[in-house]
């Protein structure tokens, strides 16, 4: 164990352009998925946070449960959808980065929506009365509360990014782990493990953890700066 770890640390220094390209693809796919997930998840979560309607409890429970959607199941569903023999086969997306973005977007959207719902609902408890007295409609109130809680929502985005960039089940099934085209950090790690090259797999794992740390660090720096300027 320690021996592998030692070799892995040394290997990190020798990783080359190929690894950089793989890391960039991972970032591109997961960040795009999180961005698209936010486009749907933030409005959806915020709306659920400020409205009350019959059956809302069920919707919220389902949404919360979908935070734990198994990646490999999402991958399988997207595979069947995008396969040439499936309903969306004409798009020719299977085994492309596009397919991986679709799968990860489906994976993170419920997560973002569920977290935003909780954050906005809590804020609504504090400020809701005031906003209602201004006779603002649901969407308007949702918008104000999202803006008000924007710094907390960064955490929801980071959680979604963490989920996307670390999953292997969905990208492996819909991307096919094609060298130089759909190979991501996680599928590369899985491949090297299968080949029995454990130090290299571990080295790639260290790089992935480094990337996640860097993205989180960047986000909290931006958040802190923004809070100072506008908070």
């Amino acid at each position: 164990m320690m021996e592998s770890l030692g070799q892995a640390v040394l290997l990190v220094g020798t990783l080359d352009r190929e690894v950089a390209a793989i890391a960039l693809l991972s970032l591109r796919v997961s960040l795009t998925a999180v961005f698209l997930g936010c486009l749907v998840g933030v409005p959806l979560g915020a709306f659920l946070g400020v409205t009350r309607f019959p059956g809302r409890g069920v919707v919220v429970a389902v949404l919360n449960a979908f935070m734990g959607l198994p990646a490999v199941v999402v991958g399988l569903l997207v595979y069947l959808l995008l396969s040439r023999s499936g309903p969306l086969g004409g798009l020719g997306l299977l085994f492309t980065p596009g397919a991986m973005i679709v799968a990860q977007t489906l994976l993170v959207t419920p997560l973002i929506a569920a977290l935003v719902r909780q954050i906005v609902e809590d804020a609504d408890r504090e400020l809701g009365e005031q906003l209602r007295s201004l006779r603002l409609g649901s969407w308007r109130r949702a918008f104000v509360l999202v803006f008000d809680t924007r710094f907390s929502l960064v955490v929801a985005t980071l959680a979604a990014f963490g989920r996307a960039v670390s999953e292997v089940g969905a990208v492996l099934v819909v991307g096919g782990n094609i060298a130089g085209f759909t190979r991501t950090m996680t599928t590369a790690i899985s491949l090297e493990t299968q080949k029995g090259d454990l130090p290299l797999a571990l080295a790639l794992g260290l790089v992935l953890i480094g990337i996640v740390l860097a993205v989180n660090g960047l986000a909290s720096t931006v958040r802190a700066a923004a809070m100072r300027a506008y908070g």
Binding site: T32, R84, F95, G176, I178, T193, D197, L198
Partner: protein, 277 residues
């Protein structure tokens, strides 16, 4: 406020821009192949040569033979390159493949712990398997409908052992690729049937060694097929056929023979001259 909005818009455009990137003009095909050809590094050796010559990029999805043929059946690949003759002939017979061409062979090896508790070592794979079954020594099976799995089941049958009935705690079906099977065998000091290519390139051997090799029955033929454009009109028939033609051409065959790990040749080209038309 304005600055935040502007930077948010810029960020959004950046993401959308990166999402729209893969507008490549380069011609490419998708090949469904086996873990043995990919994980042994053969494709890493062959594909750059082919791409340099033709400008066609080859994207390899590495799966077990059964799965790779299924991907071809669904029309999700242009070419299938696998190693299970019976399954390949069925694929072509059903009209999913145009024609099966033989490309190369290597061989299977029976791998097991160096001290060989079941005394399986020798020149006869069937005798080796009989001894493993008799000793109920741990044996790792791929269990994934791959070409190697199909071969393993064939050997049990030929050895006169009904593995479905004889199996017990000692027979461990893992449902994964060759690498994971070797990893499992290495961790549990178990016997396992492997293709020589993956074994040679495998790095986590532990106490494992080759115990049976050179039995004529261990011959492992690889075949290549174009997915039938009549079934799946989007198949890139021209580019796919160019890849197949190159594989069986003298140049492609020489490139296969060239591939070595530690001085040892992994695959032996044997395309029929008739196939080179």
């Amino acid at each position: 406020m304005d600055r935040i909005r502007r930077s948010l818009i810029a960020l959004a455009l950046l993401f959308l821009g990166t999402a729209a990137v893969p507008a490549q003009e380069q011609r490419s095909i998708t090949v469904a192949s086996t873990t043995s050809t990919e994980q042994s590094g053969l494709f890493g050796h062959l594909l750059p040569r082919f791409t340099q010559k033709t400008g066609i990029q080859v994207k390899v999805v590495a799966l077990g033979t059964g799965q790779a043929l299924d991907v071809g059946r669904r029309g999700d690949a242009d070419v299938v390159f696998v190693h299970d003759r019976a399954a390949e002939e069925k694929f072509v017979g059903e009209g999913f493949g145009v024609k099966r061409l033989e490309v190369m062979y290597n061989d299977f090896v029976l791998v097991g712990p160096k001290d060989d508790p079941a005394k399986a070592a020798g020149k006869d794979v069937l005798e080796g398997l009989r001894r493993i079954a008799a000793a109920k020594a741990p044996f790792v099976s791929r269990g994934d409908r791959s070409g190697t799995h199909a071969a393993e089941l064939r050997y049990w049958k030929d050895a006169g052992i009904d593995i479905a009935a004889a199996r017990g705690e000692w027979y461990r079906e893992i449902g994964q690729g060759m690498g994971p099977a070797l990893n499992t065998a290495s961790a549990q000091n178990a016997y396992v049937l492997a293709d020589r290519g993956t074994w040679l390139s495998f790095k986590n051997r532990g106490d494992l060694a080759i115990l049976v090799e050179g039995d004529r029955r261990l011959f492992n033929q690889y075949g290549v097929m174009l997915v039938n454009p009549a079934k799946h009109p989007h198949v890139k028939a021209q580019e796919g056929q160019a890849f197949i033609d190159w594989l069986v051409s003298p140049e492609g065959q020489a490139a296969i023979a060239d591939y070595k790990i530690g001085g040892e040749q992994l695959f032996f080209p044997n395309a029929a001259p008739a196939g080179r038309a």
